[in-house]
């Protein structure tokens, strides 16, 4: 079916409907990413410099500032660290939120729909 044929067999109403649908589709493509949070992106920063931007779906292991960061099956963790407290290792696997190693100055953030806050609180003093 050529475009000329399509124009011939469709009614005016069909064409208007098509235009309206195209407007909605086009607007959605532009607006939805702007207004909905992205998901599944991992950002690894050391000394406040962004060094890695990865997807949760990329299974891999990265060595950075004394930390071994492991991404597997849609989750991320610090598998090992040379820092004294190892708070980052104890935190285990996450799929949203952040893991922070203060001694090694590394921040791992997972950009996603935030799940319920940890321990039911938004911050700790």
């Amino acid at each position: 079916m050529t475009i000329a044929e399509i124009i011939r067999v469709t009614t005016l109403f069909d064409r208007i409907l098509l235009v309206v649908l195209l407007v909605i589709t086009g607007a959605s493509i532009v607006l939805v990413p702007l207004y909905l949070p992205r998901g599944g992106q991992i950002m690894i920063e050391a000394n406040n410099k962004l060094l890695y931007k990865l997807q949760l779906s990329d299974d891999k292991t990265i060595e950075i500032n004394g930390l071994t960061v492991e991404i597997k099956a849609g989750k991320v963790r610090v598998a090992d660290s040379d820092c004294p407290g190892k708070v980052c290792v104890k935190q285990g696997w996450i799929d949203s939120g952040a893991i922070i190693c203060l001694p090694n100055r590394v921040v791992i953030t997972v950009d996603g729909t935030p799940t319920a806050p940890k321990g039911g609180v938004d911050a700790t003093t």
Partner: protein, 336 residues
């Protein structure tokens, strides 16, 4: 074109536009969060916004301002204004930026209010305590530096915005109030950027504004002093308030069964012993940050009088593990 068709198409088009507009305007507010390591701690900014782009921009400009404050106020950065004041102790006055002058003025006010329990020139005693290598100073070393801990020897000159430490060897360290100040400035900045609600958390110095997206207050947990960093002893429900906790578990070592921690009593140079932790709630971060330390080092009797006199909201955990919540805080406090 037939009039009927024209009308129908116009109606359809308008409906489509309305659907798109509703989607844009009613995009439900989300929580956006970012953490950075600044001021020797982890800073987490949380905002509630309809737009990820606007949230990201606001958070980025807030972090830029925090980096600027860090460069002015850092005790460890040899190029900071605080370091310039310290290098010129006993020599001369140093002209400083409005932020440094304002914060030094507030620090001095809080020192006067608390009769020196909050002390921005405690540095010379502080450096003698080595919490990394678990070493405590000799009594004589501490005694020698006590004369340098006199906050009345800080001279502020408003006419040329200068600060001077009168005696050689004095050390200004705004670390006990800078995070509360940073939280205050950050909330101001994020509000101006159109963020209706959020949290500025400079580690344990936290200021919140507005509410969570569902309209409920923000929930701030209070750490259990003898538990792990995840164990909470209580939860505060806060709107438009700041909170800080000073605890003996932050930097410490134990020797001969005695816990030596970083909350030093300025008249002796030794850690204060009456509390495990002190939590203060107030509209201003500069108040909670400085006075949580002040109340901690005052000791039990003085602390209770001070809290009453200044109508502070406080949650106290005594050295024996018993607790006290001031009446004006009870409605906001939940036990765990």
């Amino acid at each position: 074109m037939k009039p009927k068709l024209l009308t129908a198409s116009a109606v359809l088009f308008v409906i489509a536009l309305i659907i798109i507009l509703m989607f844009v305007l009613n995009a439900s507010p989300h929580i956006y969060k970012k953490s950075e390591i600044l001021m020797d701690t982890v800073i987490t900014l949380t905002v509630v916004s309809n737009s990820e782009r606007r949230a990201d921009e606001a958070i980025e400009s807030a972090f830029n301002n925090l980096r600027r404050l860090e460069r002015l106020l850092s005790f460890f950065d040899a190029g900071s204004e605080v370091s310039a004041i310290n290098k010129n102790a006993g020599i001369g006055a140093v002209k400083v930026s409005p932020d440094t002058f304002e914060l030094t003025t507030i620090a001095l006010e809080k020192a006067e209010l608390s009769c020196g329990a909050f002390n921005p020139v405690i540095g010379p005693a502080m450096v003698l305590w080595d919490f990394k290598n678990n070493k405590r100073p000799a009594d004589s070393e501490l005694k020698n530096v006590l004369p340098l801990l006199d906050y009345t020897r800080i001279v502020l000159n408003g006419s040329d915005s200068s600060v001077m430490l009168m005696d050689k060897g004095m050390v200004l360290d705004l670390g006990g109030i800078a995070k509360g100040y940073a939280a205050d400035r950050t909330v101001e900045l994020l509000k101006r950027a159109g963020m209706k609600a959020g949290i500025a958390a400079m580690a344990g110095d936290i200021r919140v504004w507005g509410t969570r997206p569902d309209g409920s207050p923000w929930r701030v947990g209070i750490r259990a002093p003898r538990g792990t960093s995840d164990d909470l002893i209580g939860v505060l429900s806060l709107e438009d308030l700041a909170v800080s906790t000073s605890g003996d578990y932050e930097r410490f070592f134990i020797e001969g069964g005695i816990r030596y921690h970083h909350l030093i009593e300025p008249t002796t140079g030794y850690p204060a012993g009456d509390f495990q932790s002190v939590t203060i709630v107030n509209p201003e971060g500069v108040v909670t940050d400085s006075l949580s330390t002040a109340v901690f080092v005052m000791g039990r009797e003085k602390a209770l009088r001070f809290i009453k006199k200044n109508k502070l909201m406080a949650y106290l955990i005594y050295a024996d593990g018993t607790t006290y919540t001031t009446e004006n805080l009870r409605a906001l406090f939940d036990n765990r």
